[in-house]
Symmetry: C2
Subunit: 151 residues, 2 copies
DNA sequence: TATTGTTATACTCTATAACTATA
DNA sequence: TATAGTTATAGAGTATAACAATA
């Protein structure tokens, strides 16, 4: 083994990126938020929370999805009352997708659940380790081999 | 913000788990290894590298996939010469899936690429930071809110 | 002419069920 | 009877192409 640190990180990341890991995470995070919120629709909710009202085409570019895909997912969220469509006053071709109050609540609940779950796991860690981990993970994500993210 | 460390980690993980991130990673890692190796078939290759010759049902349990899904993915890998089927001498019902030399080479190349990419990113880090990150990430994956992994 | 949102089509992947063979 | 591998079927999700409307 020539580069043990690289292999160690690679193995850990392999676990994190697995389908079953993601499925478990999304299931836990979106539990009880209604059928409309799942692994597929959450990126739309989350993206809109970040950008504010946005067209399907713009949001698609932001989160790395085709605009036809955004339209379909937005349909489900609109039906569930988490999102509404409104004309774009600045462009007659566009329709803005905007979170409703319920939509904002769902995003916030999800974010809080994740952060809380992480905090609980880190409760047994020395505080310096927890803070170091947050700092190093952030740095790794920003400049690491996977950087340049969208979606 | 009540728990900034939890939110920091949550945000970073959110980026890592994104579809576009995974797609980029898998594309880079499996480039040039033949059409058969992609995001779908790699877990089968990687699982067999870990377990050795294994039945479709056992491998499915190991990596969190249905045995019918394993069969289909194994078909593609077998056609590409990365995997072969052989009868299980211990159980007449079972067929063992086993990596060929080409299959082992493909797995090793992928693992090496990932580890190398990570090492290169970490080259500018203080060595103590890199080692601390590897240790903390491993711990987080093992005991964190996402633990209990398969697939 | 280019871009908007949306819909229709073809394609891929998946789980469920069903089949045969073996424990 | 239970489990093995495989195949058939049905369902979900996607990208591509096409549409009318607006820039």
């Amino acid at each position: 083994m020539k580069n043990p640190t690289g292999h160690d990180i690679a193995d850990a990341l392999g676990l994190l990126l697995r389908r079953s890991t993601r499925a478990r995470v999304y299931t836990r995070l979106t539990e009880g938020l209604g059928e409309a919120v799942d692994e597929l629709t959450y990126p739309v909710l989350s993206g809109l929370a970040r950008t504010g009202p946005y067209s399907a085409a713009d949001l698609g570019r932001e989160i790395g999805l085709d605009r036809t895909t955004v339209t379909r997912r937005a349909d489900r969220l609109e039906q569930a009352g988490l999102l509404r469509r409104q004309p774009d006053p600045a462009d007659g071709r566009a329709t803005l997708l905007a979170l409703t109050d319920d939509g904002r609540t769902a995003v916030e609940a999800t974010r809080q659940r994740l952060a809380t779950g992480i905090e609980e796991s880190l409760a047994t860690w020395p505080q310096a380790d927890a803070q170091a981990f947050a700092r190093l993970l952030r740095r790794f994500v920003d400049e690491g081999p996977f950087a340049a993210g969208q979606d």
